[in-house]
């Protein structure tokens, strides 16, 4: 035993002292793993849930699920308008979502010029298209509309315009030929 003190034949204080740095490394790592495990476990669970929801879909379909209805609406606008168009969105959406949709439409529709207002009588000089955008009921439930909206006036405003697209969340009109 005296000649071979570092083989794991039996535990002794000397043995522990000799290997204390390795034990300490394992202990530190174990402590770290213990603290890191709950968030990692949550991440595994989140991965499982998202897999159930998104697996088997194309990347476009996944974007449409995650960014509903902005991604779908942007796709419809892109098909109906030229790249240099200017679009005024009259958005029936919550106050915080105005910025949200502005950034989404900017991203998806660049280089088109995008303006978003939660006001049915908003106007923009030089914009060739008017888009009436209605947010999904789920989003409105989370953040209710707090802008200015008059359906009757809006109906009158849109009456003479050429409708380019109509869907559940979007009505698109051409303002100038």
């Amino acid at each position: 035993m005296q000649g071979r003190p570092f083989q794991l034949q039996s535990f002794s204080p000397d043995l522990l002292r000799a290997y204390r740095h390795r034990i300490l490394l394992l202990a530190l790592f174990g402590l770290w793993a213990l603290v890191a495990w709950p968030p990692l476990e949550r991440q595994f669970s989140a991965l499982g849930q998202w897999r159930q929801r998104l697996a088997g879909r194309t990347i476009e379909e996944r974007a449409a699920v995650l960014d509903y209805p902005a991604y779908l609406v942007a796709g419809q606008v892109r098909q109906a308008t030229p790249a240099g168009a200017c679009l005024l969105f009259l958005g029936y959406t919550g106050p915080e979502h105005v910025n949200y949709y502005k950034t989404r439409f900017d991203y998806y529709l660049y280089p088109r010029r995008i303006l978003v207002h939660a006001n049915s009588s908003a106007s923009a000089e030089g914009c060739g298209y008017l888009a009436v955008f209605r947010d999904s009921p789920q989003n409105l439930q989370v953040e209710p509309f707090a802008g200015v909206w008059n359906e009757e006036q809006l109906g009158q405003r849109l009456a003479g315009l050429e409708k380019v697209h109509a869907g559940p969340h979007l009505e698109l009109y051409r303002l100038r030929p």
Partner: protein
Amino acid sequence: MIWLALLFTCLVGWLILRPWLRGGPVVSLGLGFAAGAAALSLQLLLYDLARAPWNRWTVVLPWMAMGAACLYRRPPQPSRPQWERPRWLEWPALIFGALVLLAWAPYERLMPLNEWDAVMLWMFKGKAFYLDRGVAPYLARAHEFLGNPAYPLLIPLYTTFLYLWLGETADHAAKLVSPCFFAALAAGFYYFLRRWGSRPVALAFTAMLMGLYMVDFVAFHYAGYADTALTAAVLLGAGFLYSWLREGDYRDFALAVLSASIAAWTKNEGLFFLAGLGGFAAARLLCQRTWSWRYWTTLAALPGLAVLPWSLARSLYGVRRPGQLSAEIVQTNLASYWPTLKALVEHAFAPPVFQLAFPFALLAVILYRRAGLDWRFLTLPALMVWQLAGATLVYVTGPVNLQWMIGSSLDRVLSQVAPLALLAAGAVFTSYYDREEKRLADQVTARRSLRRRR
């Protein structure tokens, strides 16, 4: 195709770093990616300023020519990579690291680009630059958009490069840039600890880094942001600076300055890091009375390359920061300075978010002398504190409400220095560990010779 673009990026980085690099393929790939992304993005900006056209070939051909010249002048020497099987002490780290990747990598590939800053800012600019084939049209319209047009352009222009390579705006592919910088971060982290000490410690601490929740979250959930790139650049800068202080090798000095310059070309916070690291390096050179032209040229040229072209472009295209900084906002924010620091400390010491990175760093600062390190070690925690001080300064003097800034970015700001905190802890622990290993080896040798004599 995206993999080819990423590989090409590593090769570009390798071509640039060739004179300074030492170490195995892991660090070469990791550092190469960071340097390559910085070089390619800067190349696009310089082309834009010179009115040269952007397309796949105009970007790629100069590098191919450089690569060919390099191969012609000095063909690669056949090298036999040394591979040593993992020891029992290293298996837990390897398994834990693999688990972390299994939790996060498929998640990043599953999710489309959706996070706020990526859509509003970083990837948006990349897409706009690609569609416009230049930076000017977007910058001319910057007032229309919510993002800050004055931010540095490494991530946007590197994304543009990927789109040029792919021939389309494939944002799901391009957001791989964040996991790639995470890989560069992990490679650099392992490289430093391995260089300063033994493999079990390097592997264990690298696995800890990989399990740092907020760093993972930023790299994989916020894929498409610039934070992971900045984190990698900050860690590499600090690590090479400390290596230079330890060994006095010019190559480490050059890589430290290069990494800090990459940080400055990535985010505004990186400018602060560059100022801190550059100031410290200059002070050290002066103290040592080092007048060698290559040190001072490196210290001037690399930061100049990272900062000047973008400053020129900003003034040329009339780019201004959005928001108005008023005395009232500064006064309100100054009053909130102590609560900001308190929030910073609370977040840093929250185990579910940053695990034990900051407590370990604190312990390291207390114990570094007992582990056999000298004052030079303090550069690591000092740079961390400097960087955090810079962030709080930005908070206080920024033109936006402090509470909103804290809520939206404090964890990300801390995630930029958390790996550095862990590196400091690793440096101290590996010094202690190696001393103990040496003692153990000496004891075994002494007992063996005793047995032989008997």
